[in-house]
Amino acid sequence: MSISIKVQTMDFSVGEQHGALCSNNKSDGAVVTFTGLVREFSSGDNVIALELEHYPGMTEQLLRSIAEQAQTRWQLARISIIHRVGYLALGEQIVFVGVTSRHRQAAFEGAQFIMDYLKNHATFWKKEHFKDSSNWVEFKQSDKQALSKWQSIEQDAIK
């Protein structure tokens, strides 16, 4: 079982990340990746860039803890999380989550769980830049709702 956590300004290669998840890994049949990109439309206006800051030290701890929770719930042999910070132009990669597992359902659920918890708990803050203005992104209620799925499964398991 391995966990790799990186918070960096540099871009990353999904191909390389995928290669690392697969190399010398004969027991896992399933690899799921999620990549988040800077997209053009958010709340109406055209986004030209994002600016991302984080809480150094705390962020890495939180991401590791989220990955460990995912490994407790699913059989995920390898987890890689990369989150970029700084100034990111339209179309650039923001975040990568890659997981491997013996079975595809665990891989899909594990990756989705990590993204849902990252969105709600990891200490990143995002500012959108438009042509003539900029503003801090507001927390989305839909991200909070996304967590309820995992929490109700937890309660079911306790019953």
């Binding site: 800051e53 809480y55 990891a122 200490t123 990143f124």
Partner: protein, 99 residues
């Protein structure tokens, strides 16, 4: 209040000493401050600590006390009842928006 010094997460248990305070995201921008060092003579709740900051910077009230500000004590999410001690790192920030 002095300019922030290096972060020290070790709680020295000294009755008096300084607390490193950090601000992030929109809060940092509104307060025009990313970090500061506060000397305290005794432990106090985060709620009281916030109140103290507002007394010293009245224009911070609208942002620190009246908005949905989260708080981490020594890099762990904390409620406003928890005690701040000398040597602690205390961070205030808005809800997170990464990913």
């Amino acid at each position: 209040m002095a300019a922030g010094s290096e972060t020290n997460l070790n709680n020295t248990n000294a009755a008096s000493g300084h607390v490193n305070v950090l601000f992030f995201g929109q809060l940092k921008e509104r307060l025009k401050c990313d970090k500061l060092t506060v000397d305290i003579a005794y432990s106090l709740s985060i709620k009281s600590f916030k109140h103290m900051l507002v007394e010293q910077n009245p224009h911070w009230q609208a942002w620190l006390e009246e908005r949905d500000v989260l708080c981490a004590l020594n890099q762990t999410m904390s409620s406003s009842d928890e005690l701040v001690k000398a040597g602690d790192e205390l961070a205030f920030f808005p809800p997170v928006t990464g990913g």
